[in-house]
């Protein structure tokens, strides 16, 4: 019986909040207690046990054989793809991108289509945003646009948008807008509801109000938009919070663009920032690393020998429709959203947590999970990088394993050059 080990200030990647104030108790190689008791953190950490297998064509193999087999699968492909799935440290993500570079592969992260819309809008027009602590310390008016963070981002309110201690905010006003099945918080000083068909018009009314434009007679259902805009303009610092990840129902494609524009225009009469809620697993880190290494945050193709931004569908979608003849999935396949990938239909290498559970993978190498077994860096939804701890020991780290693969690919490339 070993003594308990207690780790403090542990970072959680269970959602994009990146709470780094967790206390984790470990006993006999398992996580036995977690506080504060966030349901997502509990799910994310579990008891910390993960499989430790290495398989080639479904059979146990040594790491050396598995790496050579993986290099063979990937280097022989004409249209390889590298998919950076969740649960990697940014150090591992950087190595995965290097693999994509040497393979002349397509590289994409787990950026959802919904989040991608926000990234593309930001490319076209920029954005007005803030780190989460700025919202905590400045935002005296917070508008929740079609999201109640308590469902998918349980501690967002407590830690950021409605935190008790703040340098500048003495009284906070919460506003809530619901759109179809995307519901805002039930408790708010001012509430409004629009149908999905009305949403973008409502946002246009709000923008016009902020700009001081004459609106004429409005349909009754859009009139609350004026009241909300006027309340926002009375704030000293406004936060508009929306969910950048996919919801239950499809959303108006113009929602994100309209929200970005509204937050920007509010900086005329007051100060404002748009807070885009993002899922966990260090998705934001993959976008950051792709951006600094290639110039593009997602959907990158190295096919021409240098990075290009691919327009259109995500890597995940392209993989589902046969857009690659070999694929490296780096990270947790289980954490990818949407329909199954059918990785048995394409020569596939999986390096990441739970790799050995992926049916049909030619090579599967289990690794630890970022921030549970692997130290490194993880990014919060607001692009703030945080240190990740190694709470439990694990025989194999994703960053090192991807480094072995990169080395093998480089040796092959050097051999071909000779």
């Amino acid at each position: 019986m070993s003594a308990d080990r207690v780790l403090q200030s542990v970072t959680c990647l269970g959602c994009g909040c990146g709470c780094d104030d967790l206390t984790v108790r470990v006993r006999n190689g398992r996580i036995v207690e977690l506080s504060p008791p966030c349901p997502l953190a509990k799910r994310w950490f579990g008891d910390g046990t993960v499989p430790h297998e290495i398989r080639v064509d479904g059979r146990p193999a040594t790491i050396e054989k598995a790496i050579e087999a993986a290099a063979g699968v990937l280097s022989g492909a004409g249209r390889p793809m590298v998919l950076i799935a969740p649960d990697l440290t940014t150090q591992a993500q950087r190595t995965a991108i290097a693999v994509g570079d040497i393979l002349r592969a397509e590289v994409d992260g787990a950026t959802s289509d919904s989040a991608a819309a926000g990234i593309l809008v930001a490319q076209r027009r920029g954005r007005a945003a803030a780190t989460l602590g700025e919202l905590r310390n400045r935002a005296d008016v917070v508008l929740f646009w079609a999201v109640d963070p308590s469902e998918r981002y349980p501690r967002y309110l407590e830690r950021y948008a409605a935190a008790a201690s703040s340098t500048h905010v003495r009284r906070r006003t919460l506003l809530s807008v619901s759109v179809g099945t995307d519901r805002g918080p039930g408790e708010a000083e001012l509430k409004a509801e629009f149908t999905p068909g009305e949403e973008v018009n409502a946002l246009a009314v709000m923008k016009a109000t902020v700009r001081g434009q004459r609106l004429g007679e409005l349909p009754p259902r859009l009139r609350p938009a004026v009241a909300i805009a006027e309340r926002l303009m009375k704030g000293t610092y406004v936060a508009i919070v929306h969910d950048a990840e996919a919801g239950r129902d499809a959303r108006d494609a113009q929602r994100t663009e309209s929200l970005v524009a509204l937050a920007q225009v509010l900086n005329g009469p007051t100060r404002a920032a748009l807070s885009s809620l993002r899922a966990g697993g260090n998705r934001s880190g993959a976008e950051a690393a792709l951006t600094w290494q290639t110039g593009f945050p997602m959907r990158v193709s190295f096919r021409e020998g240098h990075p290009r931004s691919r327009s259109g569908r995500s890597g995940l979608d392209r993989l589902r429709s046969g857009g690659a003849d070999a694929v490296l999935v780096a990270g947790s396949v289980a954490a990818l959203e949407g329909p199954g990938l059918a990785l048995d239909k394409v020569p596939c290498v999986v390096i990441g947590p739970g790799a050995s559970a992926v049916a049909g993978a030619r090579v599967a190498i289990d690794t630890g999970i970022a921030g549970i077994h692997e130290p490194g860096t993880g990014y919060r939804m607001d692009d703030v990088p945080l240190p990740l701890a190694s709470v439990l020991e694990n025989p194999r780290a994703a960053a090192e394993t991807l480094g072995l693969l990169l080395g093998a690919l480089r040796r092959r490339a050097a051999g071909r050059a000779r």
């Binding site: 970072t11 100060r271 110039g295």
Partner: protein, 551 residues
């Protein structure tokens, strides 16, 4: 040629102004990454006869490795698409592809700096909260030794200490912050103005404005941080971006800032953006002569110019209120990120045009600072990359400094609206010599940064050397060095990048009174979204540099 431990760079015309060498033919001997007095016969030799030999370039002020730069990269995918950068064909080590434009990807940044003969560069504006990101980018920026300047002067904790008159505590905080973030220098941006932007005050305009209703002024912030850096005996003094950047008539603020700090060692950055006469909304003129006159007369003051070069640029600054105004006046894309308890970030891509009156004035003001500055050791070269233009435009700038004909011809092409009465328009005959170029691009910045092993080729110096083929086209000569040696490794041969070693991290860890740590922990517990224990950046490469400051 190889990357061997020994190398003799033989017979070149050496420009090593720090050691009083002005174009004399000499051998530079290198062993184990350092310049040595001599080498045995038979050591590998690089024939530099007929060529110009200088220390590797040192960029004292650029923006290339930060979270702000990454936000800027996201804003200019069109530039990246237009400037693909395939992986260079190295003969040793691995190379990476990337993209260019005004804010290149990290590997490409390192390769392009090396291709220009620059071997050391500092990112001049890093929000401490995001220092971890900067170090990750520096890890992926090869060929240059690099470091970061930590942004201060709008940070909640500092403002509270100033308000309470706790200047010693403020100094200890600055020391702690440098060590916690792995930074090299204290950077002040628009003191108090960024906090004002975030609080709803929008900005400060004078040195004695109250900041967000507190009993804190830009003057007090400047004095506190200047004294802190000097008391800590930091190798580089406080690095100041003044209030009122880019505003007509801002020279008065700049001069007032300089006068406030008279007698104290301090560095004013991208001075060009702070030397305008006229009145906001009414007129513009050059006030470069007046400001540089002050610099000439005050040996404690140093500056980098922040020259504007015509063409595309991306403005990236912690001076977020400026970027909002630029966005409103230009209608261009705009990103603003408020950074909790510390700083801000604003980004607007733009282009400087010869036919635009303000752009033309900015170009003239920068050149006037260079040409009227009497001490090149204290008036050094920068474009505030990528704010005034890319670092790739340094060779064109060097040509403007060395060749009056090119300069005057260009001047004739400009919009003349705001140029009446400017010294340059009236005719400035000065042409920089090669030695003066060596001073403003390497020896001077290294000395101002307190980098004793950089910017010169004396015994013990880092073996960072650039060899240029002579060319009557000065811009061409400086844009394509024949050889570049980095830490003893020949990274550029015959104008081609051949090796791309990792650079060293240049950082400090000054001492401080531990009481500040206890106080900071309380502050973090109350207000920060990041746990105090998680704030410092750990496991950085290379040990902190030693300094002769307080223990």
């Amino acid at each position: 040629m190889s990357g061997t431990a020994r190398l003799r760079i033989a017979g070149g015309a050496v420009h090593d102004p720090a050691n009083g060498v002005d174009g004399e033919e000499r051998d530079i001997c290198i062993e184990d990454g350092r310049v040595v007095a001599s080498l045995p016969d038979g050591a590998p030799t690089l024939d530099a006869r007929g060529m110009v030999v200088m220390p590797g370039g040192v960029d004292i002020h650029a923006h290339f490795a930060s979270s702000s730069c990454n936000h800027a990269r996201r804003l200019i995918p069109d530039e990246h698409t237009a400037d693909p950068a395939p992986a260079p064909a190295l003969i040793e080590g691995e190379s990476r592809s990337g993209s260019g434009g005004t804010v290149p990807s990290t590997f490409t940044t390192g390769y392009r700096y090396a291709g220009l003969g620059y071997t050391t560069a500092f990112d001049a504006a890093v929000a401490p909260l995001l220092a971890r990101h900067s170090h990750a980018e520096l890890d992926d920026t090869p060929c240059v030794d690099g470091g970061i300047f930590a942004l201060m002067g709008n940070d909640e904790y500092l403002l509270r200490q100033i308000e309470r008159g706790e200047r010693d505590r403020a100094r200890d905080y600055a020391a702690w912050l440098l060590g916690a973030t792995g930074a090299y220098a204290v950077k002040v941006v628009n003191p108090g103005g960024v906090e004002a932007w975030k609080s709803g005050q929008r900005n400060v305009t004078g040195l004695d404005d109250e900041v967000s209703g507190r009993k804190v002024t830009p003057r007090a912030i400047l004095e506190t941080l200047t004294d802190a850096a000097n008391q800590l005996r930091l190798p580089h003094p406080v690095h100041i971006h003044c209030n009122n950047l880019g505003v007509a008539g801002n020279a008065a603020t700049t001069l007032a800032s300089m006068e406030t700090l008279a007698g104290r060692r301090c560095h004013f950055t991208h001075l060009q953006f702070h030397c305008y006469g006229g009145e906001p909304g009414k007129s513009w003129s050059s006030a470069a002569a007046k400001v540089i006159e002050h610099v000439n007369a005050h040996p404690d003051v140093s500056v980098d110019v922040g020259q504007v070069m015509f063409g595309p640029a991306t403005t990236i600054t912690a001076d977020a209120p400026v970027e909002y105004l630029l966005h409103k006046s230009s209608g261009r894309r705009w990103t603003n990120i408020d950074i909790e308890l510390e700083s801000g970030c604003g980004i607007v891509p733009l282009a400087y045009k010869e036919k635009a009156a303000v752009s033309a004035l900015q170009w003239v003001v920068g050149l006037e600072l260079f040409l009227l500055g009497q001490d090149p050791w204290r008036v050094v070269l920068s474009t505030d990359h990528p704010n005034g233009g890319s670092f790739l435009s340094y060779p064109a700038l060097i040509q403007l400094l060395m060749d009056r004909t090119v300069r005057d011809d260009r001047l004739k092409q400009l919009n003349q609206r705001f140029l009446a009465g400017s010294a340059l328009a009236d005719g400035l005959a000065r042409e920089y010599t090669l030695n003066e170029i060596a001073i403003v691009t390497r020896a001077g910045p290294a000395r101002l940064l307190g980098l004793r092993a950089k910017g010169h080729l004396g015994v013990g110096a880092d073996a960072d050397v650039t060899v240029y083929s002579r060319d009557p086209d000065i811009a061409k000569m400086f844009s394509t060095p024949r050889y570049v040696v980095k830490g003893g490794s020949v990274v550029v041969e015959e104008g081609q990048l051949r090796r791309a070693p990792a650079g060293k991290r240049l950082r400090l860890a000054p001492g401080y009174d531990d009481a500040v740590v206890r106080d900071l922990r309380k502050h973090f517990d109350a207000y920060s979204s990041v746990s105090f224990d998680n704030y410092p950046v750990r496991d950085l490469p290379d040990a902190p540099m030693l300094l002769g400051g307080r223990a």
